[in-house]
């Protein structure tokens, strides 16, 4: 903890960048990736359902 205190006072810009901006940008990147993943999965499920419906109609 003392080492961190010394490091932050010697490198304030690195502390600000890595601690807050890099973390915030990483959080945004993770959120974007999760939203894209969710969209892919949902589209896949809807397509599968549609295919199953089409097959059922063909069978009938």
């Amino acid at each position: 903890m003392i080492n961190l205190d010394i490091w932050m006072r010697e490198n304030p810009l690195a502390y600000v960048w890595l601690g807050s901006y890099a973390v915030a940008l990483l959080i945004f990147a993770i959120e974007i990736a999760m939203v894209i993943h969710k969209r892919k999965i949902t589209l896949q499920q809807v397509r599968l359902m549609r295919e199953a419906q089409d097959e059922a109609e063909d069978d009938n």
Partner: protein, 245 residues
């Protein structure tokens, strides 16, 4: 020519509109982030008391404002869904919650990073910090409650009540620095003016706009997935080009 805004309150029409709007919001947000960070780190001078550490405010203040405002927007959508039983309102409230929670987390995280060099502590049980932490728990509670109920319409109603009741916390967060003797500083920017350097104000407002546009883009993208999921049994979903391909 009058625009029929009610047309866009239906998931059928809103789905396409949201898809068209997302790239514009996302692109503008990325540009504003770059400009804001450039002004914040290159143009804006160091603070005479806090040195370089003050630069955390360029993300801390926008994240805090967004966390509070998104909660109110979420509660408003939830209330609309509860009162008028509109499908899209409840879907929007569900889509806003994770983004709001992330902004609340970023606000608390960056606040802790600022607090350590300035106050000598990562955390203090100050009224502003504690009420912001409660806001994060309210977001998490909303998400957890919604996820715990299988029937989406019942989940919407139950979580809407939590969102509406929890909205009382937002004015408490905002006025906490006035109502109580807190360690957290009061508002620097007021209607009567500010003592902030122009470049500092520019950086903060540009990043605030970038965060707004980012939040809108992400929420629209998320609500499109929710619409797909909930309306999957309808004909219009099966006829969408992305579903057919």
């Amino acid at each position: 020519m009058a625009i029929n805004w009610f047309k866009y309150s239906a998931p059928t029409t809103f789905y396409g509109l949201a898809g068209k709007m997302i790239p514009w919001f996302a692109f503008s947000s990325a540009i504003l982030f770059v400009v804001g960070l450039y002004i914040g780190f290159v143009v804006a001078p160091a603070d005479y008391q806090q040195g370089e550490f003050y630069r955390i405010i360029f993300i801390h203040v926008p994240a805090s404002i967004l966390s509070m405002f998104l909660y109110l927007v979420m509660a408003a959508y939830a209330a609309l869904g509860l009162i008028f039983n509109t499908r899209l309102s409840a879907m929007m409230a569900t889509a806003i919650a994770p983004t709001g929670a992330l902004f609340a987390f970023i606000s608390l995280w960056t606040g802790a990073l600022w607090g350590k060099p300035m106050w000598g502590a990562w955390w203090v049980w100050d009224a502003r910090l504690t009420s912001e932490l409660i806001l994060l728990f309210l977001y998490l509670g909303f998400i957890a409650l919604h996820a715990s109920i299988d029937d989406p319409r019942r989940a919407d109603r139950a979580s809407a009540l939590l969102a509406i009741v929890g909205s009382v916390n937002v004015p408490i967060i905002y006025f906490s620095v006035k109502w109580w003797n807190t360690l957290h500083q009061g508002s620097t920017i007021k209607f009567s003016g500010t003592s902030m350097h122009v470049a500092m104000q520019q950086a903060m407002f540009i990043i605030l706009a970038a965060c707004w546009l980012y939040a809108i883009a992400v929420v629209l993208a998320r609500v499109r997935s929710i619409i797909l999921e909930r309306e999957r049994n309808t004909t219009w979903i099966t006829e969408l080009p992305e579903v057919r391909s």
